[in-house]
Symmetry: C2
Subunit: 569 residues, 2 copies
Amino acid sequence: MASTYAVGIDFGTESGRAVLVDVANGNELASSVYTYENGVIDERLPAPDDDVRLEPDWALQDPEDYLRTFRVAVPSVLERSGVDPSNVIGIGIDFTACTMLPTTADGTPLSTLPEYRRRPHAWVKLWKHHAAQPEADRINAVAVERREAWLPRYGGKISSEWFFSKALQILDEDPDLYDAADRLIEAADWVVWQLTGVETRNNCTAGYKAIWSKRDGFPPDAYFAALDPRFERVVEDKMSRRISVVGERAGRLSEIAAGWTGLRAGTAVAVANVDAHVSVPAATVTQPGTMVAIMGTSICHMVLGDRAATVEGMCGVVEDGIIPGLFGFEAGQSGVGDIFAWFADHAVPPEYHEAAAAEGVDVHTILEREAAALRPGESGLLALDWWNGNRSVLVDVDLTGLLVGGTLATKAPEVYRSLIEATAFGTRAIIDAFDTNGVAVDEIVACGGLPERNRLLMQIYADVTGREFRVAATSQTPALGSAMFGAVAAGADEGGYDGIIEAASRMARLGGERYVPAPAHRAIYDELYQEYRTLHDYFGRGTNDVMKRLKSIRTRALSDAVPSGIADG
Amino acid sequence: MASTYAVGIDFGTESGRAVLVDVANGNELASSVYTYENGVIDERLPAPDDDVRLEPDWALQDPEDYLRTFRVAVPSVLERSGVDPSNVIGIGIDFTACTMLPTTADGTPLSTLPEYRRRPHAWVKLWKHHAAQPEADRINAVAVERREAWLPRYGGKISSEWFFSKALQILDEDPDLYDAADRLIEAADWVVWQLTGVETRNNCTAGYKAIWSKRDGFPPDAYFAALDPRFERVVEDKMSRRISVVGERAGRLSEIAAGWTGLRAGTAVAVANVDAHVSVPAATVTQPGTMVAIMGTSICHMVLGDRAATVEGMCGVVEDGIIPGLFGFEAGQSGVGDIFAWFADHAVPPEYHEAAAAEGVDVHTILEREAAALRPGESGLLALDWWNGNRSVLVDVDLTGLLVGGTLATKAPEVYRSLIEATAFGTRAIIDAFDTNGVAVDEIVACGGLPERNRLLMQIYADVTGREFRVAATSQTPALGSAMFGAVAAGADEGGYDGIIEAASRMARLGGERYVPAPAHRAIYDELYQEYRTLHDYFGRGTNDVMKRLKSIRTRALSDAVPSGIADG
């Protein structure tokens, strides 16, 4: 039998990436990126409607950019690889989430219709659209009041980023448009619909972002009615109770989509997936016991378990949500690489920037080198890694960063190292939460942008968590994962695989790096971690809510218009 | 009667400054600085003995530098002013303290004798010589054990910088040299001895640095014996129980010293003083109710009271120690300008340095300007000002700096402002300690380097403390104060004054600046101060000793030689 291939398409925040891989071994033959023409829409709508300005915290996208990704990036990987489209057996896609849009019954985005295109709520709401906080607050308050059974699955709180927060914001702010939307759908499912002509709803976004579970379905209509009587039938009217499981085939490539992509009509198309979650099998993990840490500006932690468990502050647990047959647990740290970037931009004196310029490297390289020369504990510093709030285990966006131990001898690389250590302590706190609730974390596979660039960080994470860290072989785990699901959608009969576990065993690999905890480091980090936990609980669990009071004083100071001037006589 | 003049000489850490002032009104006619040839000796002894290296934390000086100050700076002010030496009626000096040295019976410094000059303990121990911490620990432990009555006068703890810590270190480490020293004496008193040929001991250094009080004298011999049997008679053998009061005349200028200085032999010479304490009358303050804050790298707080009081964590209270007839209270903050300098050097990104260079100003100017545009509370940040420990009210060198409230939007000027605010909260904590113990602080006069340069800082201090701040007219308060005491040493009969209160009323002035608390700012700062106090007590009073544990982990990390390398397989 001839070699077979699969295409994975990863829809990110700024661009879409297609890869073409060999189904036999996961080798990447070609990769192509399409940068969205309209990118992240956060100030004004695209021309010719660019007189329409957006409120703060909005973040939209143009669904046409997703179709352009199909039209540009897929033909490009075919051309670059020289692979015959008839040997491409499957297509998988993954997406940021929750990224959702309103459409007509046939899937036409309202933003493409002249009568709606000037209305901001007609456009795709990107994952980082944060303007639905009032709706999220209502969703949480009503859930607590009604003691909704699903709340513990989400660590006791759902986010303004999630599906019903965004849907409810449309209803609140543009009820006519809400009425005009026949469908409200994840962009992930919408692009699969465009490829196949079939509307499906994947269980990964439904489970992690739309409060759905295999056993209980969506929250009851009475709950939605309690949010707003007009919202009672949101699931019936705008969504679907038929949920497809990742690993299934959503449909086959339509003639139209074959024309866009250059692929063969009839090619198997997988049920849509989420970028983070699809990375788990692409990082070789298909069984309980190994955590996948997707490390970049933030960290997403994924673990598989063979039974449900309630873990404090996790983002969600979804049965079959990552690997069919297993419970997929998700937790997260809301600031990691972002904190290091903030520090490099805002708190590093000129000498380090000059050294970086002289060597032609970036300032992180200099800071990492100097920080690596320090011993654990040598800085005398300890930080709480909450510059962007705490996602797990405290689930509190109003927590802030803290640094203790400063002296007149404190140097920038010492602070840099203490910030890395703080994020490692944050990961350990999450591992501890899983561990104490029966979800084993024996070792960790890292992927994402940070592990390749920062060996010191990886060693500190190993030392702090006491777990061995390995790194996924590919730097494109989401796209590889999508291609793997494409091969599974095709199935063994068509030259693919009958399940994601088999696909992972053939197509996914780890790199050679192995970060092993150093016993001498562990002992000191155990002590420092105890100090971290004490501060974590003191500032994070209500003993001293100074962080929240400082935020509220700040808000008041800005709104009261207290003059800043200097009075003198 | 012709105009009369007085010379004040201020012996600082790096240099000595002479000023010549008009006795009638305090106007400064000339000023001259002599930079010590051997400066601060903290790595090796001066040539030709520069093969002798010093241990860490040592800080010595060369007594010849003090004599060179007389020979260079005093003739210079005479020449520059054109004043006839016969019209100079008095000389006063002030000194850093405790700065002390061993001499022979005739006052010859042991460091000038060939047989001792290669022995570090023969040299002057500068105030910031910090190598006598083990001796200070012993002094405190034995005092607590014996329930020494003097301990509360010093906030419950004496410092490694003080006289008996340094004296005991000589005995501990170089007992032969200790035996060879006929006298152990403050450099302040030693220079007066050189000017007059008369050995006096001033009550200001005796009281604030050598555990002496007017009512109880020195600690009992039995206490010194408990420290070390050989130390029992340190006061009898090496010092004196005859203590002179500031404001008295120590003696008259000798022929030899007249030759050095160009002044008339027989000119009245005042009893020596301490730089901080002599600043109080020079800042116009001679009565209870007004605090003098000497604001520079650190802050020294002085208040007068008409009766003794025990104030938590004060540095000392000495009857007649500042103004005869009153109790002089001293407290302090060990890091203020030093913290801002640390921040500017180690935590400010290039853009601010570039802006400063473009405008030809220093980076503090840029930071202050941007910080001044912020409203109180707007930064969302709060700091504990302990980068150099806490002198008052916690008296704990092992406390460290803390910053809380950091977000990904935090900018350098916000941190800068929060550090200024933190030092202001530290001053308010000291004022509160005085206030609650019956020592009134109704308003504050600032002097030193910071008030002139930083108007934002002064306004924040007024807003935070709720007290009006004014600023001494001269930037050379210590030298002016010394000249005032020189005029008092001469007395009215010789064209001076009969008391320091009268001298202050004629010779000292305030500048025109007046920093008045702004009510809207006070309200927010009251809230922030409550947050500061909560953290102050949590981290400073033993609830969470994380700062000390981080220091001890650091010490261990450095000594255990834990490798810093990255392990991988």
